[in-house]
């Protein structure tokens, strides 16, 4: 059970990044490679707030959220908008470039030694359902679930969210309906940044603030994203948690050497059976 809990708490981080991938993917059709680096940045802002400036948690969260939101906006402005109208896959390169840029700047400012960020709440280990878990992990899991639910409600019921879904469905049709497509993309990048910033203070105690966090998390979150089905919030949440649990269980019972191979095998089998992922939608196409 302890392994399950630790799997869920690692998985929550994957879910978080996969949700960020989805928010951008839905509104712009772009896969944002820099999402995991934004989360890394979030952990460093948590370090800045908690350790360096001794701010209280609320202020730290606000500062980190606002800062990452701005960085998300900068990314959209610098790496995405100049490409608009061009038929190419150049965003694969520019978002990776922006990710490298974020990591590079972090390494310049804070160095490459992992920095510890203490959790602001209680630290006593809890025993739940026969498994042991630290409170910050538990809160992180709950946070991710609440976030997924909030995003779901927003997409389903708010005009703004519905407009984003419309853009995902058909950009041209959405534009004809009077939806400002590029504004949806801007909002999506801002939201992606904000999510990463908000979570920084919860993720940092688990992972430490370390500049290359994005490399490790980003790849596995990509598997979660693919497994759950691109564009599906539910898929990203469950995909991330499942990947985390599988990773921890395999590491414990088979060996860490085999985690990636087994995850990859599962991904391959799932995609062969369900090409759109577990929760992705199938779009019929003909001539």
């Amino acid at each position: 059970m302890t392994t399950l809990w630790s799997g869920l708490s690692v998985g929550a981080i994957f879910s978080l990044v996969a949700l960020g991938y989805n928010v951008v993917f839905i509104s712009s059709g772009i896969f944002n490679f820099a999402q995991a680096s934004l989360l890394t940045l979030g952990t460093f802002f948590a370090y800045l707030g908690v350790v360096t400036l001794h701010l209280n948690p609320i202020l730290t969260i606000l500062m980190a959220t606002a800062s990452c939101l701005v960085v998300g906006l900068i990314e959209e402005r610098v790496a995405i908008r100049p490409l608009s109208g061009k038929i190419s896959r150049a965003e694969l390169v520019t978002t990776v470039g922006f990710a490298a840029l974020i990591e590079g700047v972090i390494a310049l400012v804070w160095g490459s030694v992992p920095l510890q960020v203490p959790f602001f709440g209680p630290t006593r280990v809890l025993t739940i359902l026969g498994g042991r878990i630290v409170p910050d992990s538990l809160i992180l899991i709950i946070f991710v679930l609440v976030l997924a639910l909030a995003l779901h409600v927003w997409y389903k019921y708010s005009i703004s969210g519905l407009a984003s879904i419309a853009v995902a469905e058909d950009q041209v049709a959405a534009r004809l309906r009077g939806i400002n497509v590029s504004k949806r993309s801007i909002i999506a990048f801002a939201m992606g940044g904000a999510i990463a910033g908000m979570a920084g203070i919860l993720v940092a105690p688990q992972t430490f603030a370390v500049s290359n966090l994005g490399d490790a998390v980003g790849l596995t979150a990509f598997i979660a994203f693919a497994l759950g089905g691109s564009g599906s919030l539910l898929g990203a949440t469950i995909g991330g948690l499942a990947v985390g649990v599988i990773e921890q269980e395999v590491a414990r019972y088979v060996g860490t050497l085999y985690t990636n191979t087994i995850l990859y095998g599962i991904l391959l089998v799932v995609l062969l059976v369900m090409p759109n992922g577990l929760f992705g939608r199938n779009t019929a196409r003909a001539v």
């Binding site: 100049p82 390169v93 990776v96 922006f98 490298a100 050497l257 990636n260 090409p275």
Partner: protein
């Protein structure tokens, strides 16, 4: 005007958008490459190593260009193939036999096998999912390496790989760099000849639409496998060169960064270019080298270069090169067309004359269609073909699109299907063409059942079609789009195409001659060298008709060919359909233009909500009260006044 550019020899030499006719340029290119690379070899050990690494990257990137850029298949397993090949040759050279030629051959075989294996999921999933699975193959490399440390050297890697030998003679690094240049040149000649051949055109067709591909009788499965395998070979070659030059192969080489770099190289160099791959590869090695020199700023520099590179090269370095060349070229005085001897002459000036097409000469069309049809059977005794549709039903999740439809189409007749939108006309065409498998009933051609749901095999039985929305592949000239129709029937092997054998050359010139003649007769002769995707809708429709005709079908299915055509184009279409009928083709026409249908058809079937409501000759259908009620509603049905123009 695009026409101008294509006539210029400089553009012809470098632009892959141009047809393959500029093959003389290959020696120019090879010469430039060799002259450009040789100085590196003179600059000593460091630059020789840099040169080989540049070549290694360029090879990997060219594999991405082939599979992704040309065939549109997002199979990105090149780094994994590169890794396997590097380990394989390290192992061979250390433990089995130290001969670089054997290593190269073994790597090609290994690359073919792995390319096939890593591509297989793509036969089912394709698109994004394939990209993800092949992309992430790289994360397994360090783990797999550690699982079999006896062979791979584990985390430490394979060090002390001996300097490679060739037939027992040891190669120095400078000799090795000569070898690398040779491999590089050979691969690029192969790549160029492959892409600028009928196979390249078929790959571009696949990139556009698998429905189109299979409607031309080309097996999508075969084409995809060809793309995966061909894109794997250069990565295999790169592995050997890498292992031989570095003398060390370890798991850290095959990183995620390399995958990203490979894609960056491809995009920045231009995905659908040949020589752009070389530029992209070289750029990549330069980035690696420079950013290592900047040490602590290296990530920032790398990031900035990727962002800027991605933006600047949204069309790729090759695109920038091309537009630069065309600017230079247009400044030069216009030369005569190079290929004048090749086909019927046309004005040599930059501005093509506008040809009046309203009154086409029937003789011209006659000649082409006869030409197109007589290649096989010289005695022009047309065979009778009968297409029989028997009680065909088709549901789409509870919606009944076709209900026990029974009708037939014969040689020498134009069989028309009319009916309101949603009446099942296009669905029926798709069932005949094998795109959909009918839920009930059968379709037979000349008494033999057509393979249901297997559209490339239906096409090979002699069914040709056009699409309601024309499907015209990107980056192809009009005549090339038409010529793809002959890919399957006049098949030339990859080896023949790459070696440009006499037979290949003959088929190739037939391809072009027939396509251009056909286009000329359809009134599009002056646009034969225009970029097909940029042509206006009516021309794209006619292009599709030409692509169907060049296949010499027994049955031709036309899905609203007249929609959007002006009177001149329409007159040509009418002529063509009549000629087709006379040539013994069974023409099946779905059309909304009632006047046209009445004028042309021998039999009209009226469909409504999946049923055949009425069938009969035009004169009868024109005044049938049921038809009137379907089109105009019940109130008007009693009046039964149907002026042709009103519908």
């Amino acid at each position: 005007m695009n026409l101008v550019n294509f006539k210029n020899p400089i553009i012809r030499a470098f632009s892959i958008r141009e047809s393959e006719s500029g093959y003389g340029a290959i020696w120019l290119v090879v010469g430039i490459v060799i002259l450009g690379l040789l100085p590196f070899i003179g600059l000593g050990l460091f630059w020789q190593t840099q040169l080989v690494l540049m070549i290694v990257y360029a090879l990997i990137v060219s594999g991405v260009n082939l599979t992704f850029g040309f065939a549109g298949e997002l199979a990105l397993g090149q780094v994994a193939i590169f890794a396997v090949s590097a380990y394989l040759s390290a192992y061979l050279m250390t433990h089995v036999v130290n001969d670089v030629v054997i290593a190269l051959l073994a790597s090609i075989v290994a690359a073919l096998i792995i390319g096939l294996f890593t591509g297989l999921p793509g036969l089912r999933i394709g698109g994004w999912a394939l990209a993800m699975t092949s992309f992430f193959l790289v994360i397994l490399i360090p783990d797999v390496v550690q699982m079999i440390p006896n062979i791979t050297g584990g985390v430490q890697g394979f060090d002390a790989i001996p300097l490679p030998e060739i037939f027992g003679a040891q190669l120095s690094i400078s000799e090795l760099s000569f070898l690398a240049v040779a491999v590089f040149v050979l691969w690029f000649v192969f790549f160029r000849n492959f892409v600028l051949s009928r196979h390249g055109r078929a790959l571009k067709t696949l990139r556009e639409s698998r429905h189109l591909t299979s409607s031309l009788g080309i097996s999508v499965l075969r084409m995809k496998l060809l793309a995966y395998v061909a894109g794997a070979v250069p990565a295999g070659l790169a592995g050997v060169l890498f292992a031989a030059t570095e003398g060390y192969v370890g798991p850290t080489t095959f990183s995620f960064t390399l995958v990203i770099g490979m894609i960056a190289g491809s995009i920045i160099g231009g995905m659908d270019s040949i020589y752009g791959a070389a530029a992209g590869g070289a750029l990549l090695e330069y980035i690696n080298f420079r950013s290592a020199a900047f040490s602590q700023y290296s990530l920032v520099v790398y990031g900035v270069i990727l962002v800027l590179g991605g933006i600047l090269a949204a069309h790729g370095l090759a695109g920038i090169g091309r537009s630069g060349l065309s600017r230079i070229a247009s400044a030069l005085p216009n030369r005569q067309r190079l290929d004048e001897s090749d086909h019927t002459s046309s004005p040599a000036s930059g501005e093509p004359e506008v040809v009046e097409v309203s009154e086409p000469s029937a003789m011209l069309i006659d000649r082409v269609i006869n030409d197109a049809f007589e290649t096989d059977n010289d005695d022009a005794e047309p065979v009778e073909h009968v297409l029989r549709i028997d009680k065909v039903s088709k549901d789409f999740g509870g919606v009944r699109a076709l209900r026990d439809v029974t009708l037939s189409a014969k040689s020498g007749e134009i069989t028309a299907m009319i009916g309101p939108n949603g009446s099942g006309k296009t669905t029926l065409l798709n069932v005949i063409a094998g795109v959909y498998r009918a839920d009930g009933g059968s379709v037979t051609l000349d008494g033999i059942k057509l393979p249901a749901g297997r559209s490339h095999r239906c096409a090979r039985r002699g069914i040709a079609r056009t699409f309601q929305t024309p499907i015209i592949p990107r980056d192809m000239l009009a005549w090339e789009v038409v010529a793809v129709g002959r890919y399957q029937s006049e098949y030339t092997s990859v080896a023949q195409s790459v070696l440009r054998t006499p037979q290949f050359r003959r088929v190739r010139s037939d391809d072009r001659r027939l396509a251009i003649e056909l286009l000329t007769d359809l009134g599009l002769g002056e646009y034969a060298y225009a970029r097909a995707e940029e042509m206006p809708l009516p021309h794209r429709r006619i292009l599709e008709v030409a692509r169907a005709i060049i296949r010499r079908p027994s049955v031709i299915l036309l899905d609203e060919p007249a929609a959007g055509l002006d009177e001149g184009d329409l007159a040509i279409l009418v002529q063509v359909l009549r000629r087709l009928r006379k040539a013994g083709v069974a023409v099946v026409l779905v059309e909304h233009n009632f006047g046209l249908v009445v004028e042309l058809a021998d039999v009209i079937h009226v469909l409504n909500l999946g049923d055949v409501v009425v069938s009969g000759p035009p004169a009868q259908i024109q005044h049938d009260p049921k038809v009137v009620s379907i089109y105009l509603g019940n109130e008007l049905a009693g009046a039964a006044i149907v002026p042709n123009e009103a519908l």
